[in-house]
Amino acid sequence: MYVAVKGGEAAINEAHKLLAEERRGDLAVPELSTAQIEEQLSLSVDRVMTEGSLYDRKLAALAIKQARGDLIEAIFLIRAYRTTLPRFGYSAAVDTAKMGIRRRISATFKDIPGGQVLGPTFDYTHRLLDFKLAAEEGDEGETSGSDFAELPDGVAQLDDSMPRVVDLLKHEGLIEEERPGEKPESIGDLTREPMNFPVDRDVRLQNLARGDEGFLLALGYSTQRGYGRSHPFAGEIRLGEVAVEFVPEDLGFPIEIGEVTLSECQMVNQFKGSTEAPPQFTRGYGLSFGHCERKVMAMALVDRALKGRELGEVVDSPAQDEEFVMEHSDNIQASGFVEHLKLPHYVDFQSELELVRKMRRERREADLGEKDPQAVEAAE
């Protein structure tokens, strides 16, 4: 007798148990703590906070642990949790010019007011596996003291003033003007209002900031290879802490409620001018929580490419196509829809099966009929 091959609650519960077991791995190996993830896998935490749209290192670390290191799954956990959080209001705009700098470089000028600050970067490491890190614990204790950076004697502390590099170009009028929106309360929020094309830059930037790093990286790369080329220079990349201010209604003036670590990239792009605008430098902007340098650079390239419509450029490449970029940048939407193909589709498939059989039958009959009209009758 046929037994229904449909999944049930028991199967789901057992699958969850197996998952918990796999997550823990070999019990002989000590369990990973969320504090360890927060401290030692900090770039994973930064990505999960950025694409999860929630600045909370502890929750991000928990999500990474629960997701077994699958960062998109961790971002998903954070996004779903974010839905349940009450919203008190919007902070005042943060001022990245007043950032407590940890890293700040410009590729457009050899020296800049405030100087170039390398900070913690992989950039000039040789990508050689460091087998010392694989050695058992104990070794780490020995290296920790002497290998950590100290400010050499006689080197001055960083300047208090670190003006943004693109602001220096602004004084000469060589770079496109960017004005803040009329009213801060009119700034769009795609988590509260669905996107309606064409969208303005505020929503575009929000979409890109939440967008998948890999997707933006590939799109940004494509602009460098000629698909919507815009001759970029890394005007400035900076990393550091900024204060977050909030204006409670009953106080009426801003109070500092904490600080966040941000990465910012300002691309400067050559522009020969169009019927809409004179020759000048144009800009692309990237911003993320934590240290996500690759992400903010890619984001800045794509932001610039998406300005094509406003600047009167020919819009014919994927990275310049607003609907294409913005509808496909979100990895939670993308992974959900791609992976929904795992769900049963046998009703639709049955319908297609019936159709293909019918069409093949008709074609067979037609073929037979051409060769020998009597054979069709015989076959039927």
Partner: protein
Amino acid sequence: MTQSAQKNPAQSEAVEHGHADKIGPDPNYNFAYLDEQTKRMIRRAILKAVAIPGYQVPFASREMPMPYGWGTGGVQVTASILGPDDVLKVIDQGADDTTNAVSIRQFFVRTAAVETTEHTEEASIIQTRHRIPEKPLSEDQILVYQVPIPEPLRFLEPRESETRKMHALGEYGLMHVKLYEDIATHGHIATTYAYPVKVNSHYIMDPSPTPKFDNPKMHRMPALQLFGAGREKRIYAIPPHTAVYSLDFEDHPFEIQQWEQSCELCGAENTFLDEVVTDDRGGRMFVCSDSDHCNRKREAAE
């Protein structure tokens, strides 16, 4: 679902599914997960959708604790209309015991502690993916569809900015040409599911990927039909007793799927059948896709 449970329809599903220890909804979350502001926003979108049958209303879809594409739109609609006294039925592919239907039902048992049922006529809200129950629905029921791609014109024109214009102007020539080309190439319309319909003689609408077998059930259905697309952030509706017409041509009228077989379990001859492969030598059998309908028919025969 257990055999004993099937014989005792009065027993609450919460007990059947092992949640007997849970008296109220999970205290860590608001009733039915979404906060009341969000529910209000979704209800406003639903009201607008009911007022303009077949029109896709944009709404600020939230991120839910299940993946996009797995019913987040339907879940948000259900969460917004669900009250503590509702009785919920969840089906996927017509069946109550498919994995995702089980998962969504558990979600509402956990967050809203509502009574659930597998019996079509007992449910006040039925959330579905890909099927309409075989048993006709009544005026005091609501059918909530999970929708992956709400735009019927999407595969003819990928741009939202264009398709919205086409709907606004009632410019549906592209769709008619597509159907005509099917006939010119194959001799018949080669669309078997997500078959486009015209609602209230105005908007062309995607009935979600239900088989065209179910399209006639939408026409003048006494129950309210709500469609939720979470990833695409759209809600649309067919109010009770609204005319729903499957697109066709005078000389090529719309027709539904027919089977030569009848259900091998219950003997039904007028239901949608799933084909089940029984061995690797071409053996197969056909059974009802609507599991409740099939179980009840068999019980009645016993």
